[in-house]
Every structure is written in structure tokens, then in C-alpha cells.
């Protein structure tokens, strides 16, 4: 039962935050954190667990957003059905892309995924007749369940964070299972994992497709929340930002992914008061975290826990 404590605590915090922060602006900012969290949680499985770097996840985020946005605005498909379509389409594309690309390793994999992300970005920009090009398109309808339209920030907040909580529950179950161990074994040593009977190629592609599909959900949420999308939201900078969130949070732990998304997702808000200097403060914060907590923010949390609670925890070291 002890396993469920962090998740329960998380749900309580998520439920309670809007009560504490009555201001819709904070809620709105937290919606974006939730959207990022969806991607970073699934990306941490690819990056932190299976050890496969992807610098192209903004592409899946974008494909999700564009599919959902285009289906609803152009062909007037219902938003939920459009969201489902975007998951299927992204999944198929991710499979087609992942099959050859995941044979590459290390920096080569990084470049290949970065390149694929760029190709998708160029497509968003250049296929003007379909995507409306660089200037983007708006008037994307909002999500609704029956009469409940997710039009204000608070409703969307609960929708997004409910999804995050469900994803977390599923992912936490998976990482402490034979599949979670199989993923980590790929990171540890692909050869040994293979020899121990883990079908590494298959797991790599499965987890890649899974995280792409979740990114598509995040993209769909973004499209239906902001109601306007343009290619710049899904460029290489976003891909790098997502990976940075995972690593700054702590890539060997899904909670780190949420922490990283929360920190880097809200940092621009705190840094506004610095005016132009925000870029310097942002860089400095990132550098200091990576220099002094190479394991990410969760490793700091771990240190604090050790100091105050002692080493009681029997949670497996991830």
C-alpha cells in the first residue's frame, strides 16, 4: 500500500491547488505544465528508462495538435474523435519512423530524431494549403463532455491533470514490473538484456510509439485549449525543451519528469520580472542544476528525504 502514497499525495495536491490559487492566470499556466507533463512522463520512459534519446518529440506533439485541430476545423469532426484519430495517426507514424531510427545509437539517434522533427516542422510550414503555413490557424473548438464544455481554465485544468494522474498511475505500475525492468535493462546493456531474453528492439519501438501517442494527446489538448496553433510551437527548441525538462527533473524517475515540467514550464512566468535578463537567469539556473544535481531535481529530493527520514525507503533505486 505504501507504493500508492506518492500518487495519492499527488492527486490531493492537484485537486487542492486551484482552491489555493484562485487566480485563473496561475491555473492557466498550470494547464501548460500539465500538457508538458504528459509528454515528459512518457518521454522519461524512452530517455531515462530505455536510454534512447529523442530530440524529435515536438513533432509528435505537433502532429497530434495539427491532426486534432485540422479534423475539427476543416472537417468538423467531433473533438474527442479527432483526438482519438490523432493518437492513431501519430502512433502509426511513430512506428514507421521508429522502426529504422531506433537501430541508431547515441548521438546518431539524437541527430536522426532531431532531423525527423525538423522535417515535420518544415512540413507544417510549407504545406500551406493543408496547415495554413507559418501563420497557423485558429478557431479550434473546445473539448466537451455532454453539456460540459472545457472552456475556462479551471475545467481544462482538471481535465489535463486528471489525464496526467491516470497516466502516472499506469506508468508507475509499468515501471515496477517486468516491462519496466526490461526497459531499464536496455539502458544498462542492450547485449546483456538481449541475452537474458528481452526483445530489446520490440520494447524500444513499443515505448517510442507509446510516448509518441501520449505526446499526440498533449498536442490535441494544446490545440483545444489555446484554440490556435502554429508551427513555431512544435519546433526543435520545443523538442530540446522537453528533453531538458526530463533531465533537469531527473530522468530516471517519472516524478522527475513532472518536477522538470513544473519548473521549466513555469520558470518563464517567474522570470518575466527580470525583463531581458530572463534569458541569463534561465541559462544560469539550468547550468547550476546540472552541475550540482546531475541526477536532476528528484535526486535533491532524495537527498532531503535521506537526511530527514533516514534510509527507510525500500523503493528500488531507479
Amino acid at each position: 500500500m505504501k507504493k500508492h502514497v506518492p500518487l495519492a499525495l499527488f492527486v490531493v495536491i492537484v485537486m487542492g491547488l486551484p482552491v489555493l490559487l484562485k487566480n485563473p492566470y496561475y491555473i492557466g499556466a498550470l494547464v501548460f505544465v500539465g500538457i508538458y507533463s504528459l509528454i515528459t512522463i512518457s518521454l522519461s520512459l524512452v530517455l531515462g528508462y530505455a536510454g534512447q534519446i529523442s530530440l524529435g518529440h515536438a513533432a509528435f506533439y505537433g502532429i497530434g495538435a495539427y491532426t486534432s485541430g485540422l479534423l475539427t476545423t476543416r472537417w468538423h469532426v467531433s473533438p474527442w474523435f479527432a483526438l482519438a484519430c490523432s493518437m492513431v495517426i501519430t502512433g502509426i507514424l511513430a512506428y514507421a519512423i521508429g522502426k529504422p531510427v531506433l537501430k541508431l545509437r547515441g548521438h546518431y539517434l539524437a541527430m536522426a530524431t532531431l532531423g525527423l522533427g525538423e522535417i515535420v516542422y518544415i512540413f507544417f510550414n510549407s504545406a500551406v494549403d493543408l496547415t495554413a503555413g507559418p501563420s497557423g490557424f485558429g478557431q479550434i473548438p473546445r473539448l466537451a463532455i455532454g453539456g460540459l464544455v472545457f472552456k475556462d481554465d479551471i475545467r481544462f485544468y482538471y481535465l489535463v491533470w486528471f489525464t496526467v494522474a491516470v497516466l502516472l498511475a499506469l506508468v508507475l505500475n509499468i515501471i515496477n514490473s517486468r516491462i519496466g525492468r526490461a526497459l531499464r535493462s536496455i539502458h544498462g546493456s542492450e547485449t546483456a538484456a538481449n541475452a537474458m531474453g528481452v526483445n530489446t528492439a520490440s520494447y524500444k519501438i513499443q515505448i517510442f510509439v507509446f510516448s509518441a501517442v501520449i505526446s499526440a494527446v498533449a498536442g490535441g489538448y494544446y490545440a483545444h485549449f489555446v484554440t490556435f496553433i502554429s508551427p513555431t510551437t512544435f519546433d526543435a527548441n520545443t523538442s530540446i525543451l522537453l528533453v531538458t525538462m526530463v533531465i533537469v527533473g531527473g530522468m530516471s524517475n517519472v516524478w522527475g519528469a513532472v518536477l522538470g515540467a513544473a519548473l521549466l514550464g513555469t520558470l518563464p512566468e517567474y522570470l518575466r520580472r527580470f525583463g531581458d535578463y530572463d534569458i541569463l537567469v534561465y541559462g544560469a539556473i539550468m547550468m547550476v542544476i546540472m552541475m550540482f544535481a546531475p541526477g536532476g531535481l528528484v535526486s535533491l529530493a532524495g537527498l532531503v528525504k535521506q537526511k530527514f527520514v533516514g534510509n527507510l525507503s525500500r523503493e528500488p533505486a531507479a
Binding site: 536510454g51 541508431l104 536522426a112 532531431l114 522535417i119 547550468m287 552541475m291
Partner: protein, 297 residues
């Protein structure tokens, strides 16, 4: 215009652009060989080279010949300082953490440059005349020849350094096997610092020669780094000749793609070729799978 001259013009353009990518890729390779990381601040070194040169020649009114080495030295200082402050003190960092630190470093350098030189693109006069040189109906600027010349000079100096000097050989030893290098008495950490100095210098040279053509602003580095990274990967990480060949190849592909297929998709065309090559040769054109160290993240 004759169709032959048109093709020739595309190739000239491709070589002119590609030689820039090649120089950035060379900078990537030197640090990669020594540390196994991709230094994402490499593009910022290029940007700084151009920016320092602009300040030295336009504000301080120094003659180009004097300003050139000073600008390079200043960038080397930045490179070494960055390594000493952010990378040297770390005990046994993972590759991914180091990459993140270089990304943070690039953001910081970009920010400082924004304050130092403002947000508008800055301009540097061409080294020699701006009159284009005509060759069989295609034209090329004298500055493009300067770039090619600098690329050749950098390649020759690097070849000499790594094959003929003791320090160069020590750096190659680090690239091959760090532990063994340490055992024979090579100060590996010093070599890492040196690799940052060297690639900062190459970046600076690249930045100085290309600024007259491309203009320089504080955000220029990112795109150059991206293309250079592509070239380094296509050539095979760590391979000097690979970087040069791949840089030129990407440049020519972009140019031919823009000319004969579609300028909207020219970058995509080059990337598709890059991916195609990687699917057939997972370690790049001139990289060998056996030598490629499978760095873990």
C-alpha cells in the same frame, strides 16, 4: 542563363554554404573526440567570433589583420573559461548531463551577447572586394574563396597538429582510450580544456570569415550548430575528413534541392538524405562502427 551555368552556380553556392557547415562540424568533432560529448555551444563560438571581429574592426578601428587573431583569442578565452567553470569541476558526469550543460552554456552566452551587441544583425565588410568572380557563367564572391581558404587552412593545421605534434598525439590518445591515456601519463582533463580551446578557435575563425556574407546576430549560433551537427553526424562523428566531405555535401544538397526540387523543402531534402545514409551506414559516411564508441547516455 545556360543550364550548365545554372547547375554550376548551384554547386558553387552549395560549396560556399557547405564550407561553413564543415567548419562548425570540425569544431564539434574535436570536443567529441576528447570527451564524447556534443558541445551545443559550438554555434555560439561561431557567433562570438563574428561579433568580436565586428567590435574590434568597427568600434576599435583595428586593422583586420590585427583584429583577427585578437578575436580568435577572445573566443578561445570564452571557450576555456566555459570549460573551466562548468565542465572541469565535475567529477564523473554522464554524457547527457554534459550535453545539457553545454545547452545551458549556449543560452548564457547568447544572453550575454544580446546585451553586449544588441538584437539587430551586425555587419562586417568583406575582406576584399565585393565584385563577384565569373567562372563559366556562374559567379562566386571573393569572400567565399576566403571561407574555402580558411577551411583548407584549418584542415591543414589540424592534420599537422594531430599527426605531427606531441600534444596533438596525446589528444588523439585521449580520443582513443581515456583510461589508457591517463595510464601513460597524459593529463586528460588538460586535454579536455585544450579541446575546448581548439574548437573555440575553429569556431571563431568560421564566425569571422562568414560574417561579411551572412551578417551576425546573437541568435545566429543555433542554426549553424544544428547544420554543423548534421554534418558531423553525416560524416561520422570524430572523423575530420568526414566532417569536411559531409559539410560540403549538405551544402550542395540544399542548393541543388532548392534549385531543382523546391526551395520550401530544401532543408528537408538534405535531412532525408542524411537519414537515408544513417539507415545504411549507422555510423556515418566515414565513421566506422567498430571505432565508434557506443557512448551511453
Amino acid at each position: 542563363m545556360h543550364s550548365f551555368s545554372i547547375t554550376l552556380q548551384y554547386i558553387f553556392t552549395g560549396i560556399a554554404v557547405g564550407s561553413i557547415y564543415a567548419m562548425v562540424a570540425l569544431g564539434f568533432n574535436i570536443i567529441y573526440n576528447c570527451t564524447g560529448i556534443i558541445n551545443f555551444a559550438q554555434g555560439e563560438f561561431v557567433m562570438l567570433g563574428g561579433m568580436f571581429m565586428i567590435t574590434l574592426t568597427t568600434t576599435w578601428k583595428l586593422p583586420s589583420l590585427v583584429a583577427f587573431p585578437i578575436a580568435v583569442a577572445l573566443v578561445v578565452l570564452v571557450g576555456v573559461g566555459f570549460e573551466r567553470i562548468a565542465i572541469h569541476p565535475l567529477k564523473s558526469p554522464s554524457v547527457l548531463v554534459l550535453i545539457m550543460i553545454t545547452i545551458a552554456g549556449s543560452i548564457l552566452i547568447k544572453g550575454v551577447a544580446m546585451f553586449a551587441w544588441g538584437k539587430e544583425p551586425c555587419y562586417l565588410p568583406h575582406f576584399s572586394s565585393e565584385t563577384p568572380i565569373n567562372f563559366l557563367g556562374a559567379t562566386i564572391l571573393p569572400q567565399n574563396l576566403w571561407i574555402l581558404g580558411c577551411l583548407a587552412a584549418v584542415v591543414i593545421v589540424l592534420a599537422w597538429f594531430f599527426n605531427r605534434t606531441l600534444v596533438g598525439k596525446a589528444m588523439r590518445a585521449c580520443a582513443h582510450n581515456r583510461d589508457a591515456a591517463r595510464l601513460v601519463g597524459i593529463n586528460v582533463k588538460q586535454m579536455v580544456t585544450l579541446s575546448f580551446a581548439l574548437s573555440a578557435a575553429i569556431g571563431a575563425v568560421a564566425g569571422i570569415v562568414i560574417t561579411p556574407i551572412i551578417l551576425m546576430d546573437y541568435q545566429r549560433g543555433a542554426m549553424l550548430a544544428l547544420k554543423g551537427f548534421g554534418a558531423a553526424i553525416l560524416g561520422g562523428l570524430g572523423s575530420g575528413p568526414g566532417a569536411v566531405v559531409a559539410g560540403l555535401l549538405i551544402g550542395v544538397l540544399e542548393s541543388l534541392g532548392a534549385g531543382y526540387i523546391s526551395s520550401h523543402y530544401k532543408d528537408a531534402i538534405a535531412l532525408v538524405v542524411l537519414l537515408g545514409v544513417l539507415f545504411i551506414r549507422p555510423a556515418g559516411l566515414l565513421g566506422s562502427a567498430e571505432i565508434q564508441r557506443l557512448k551511453k547516455f
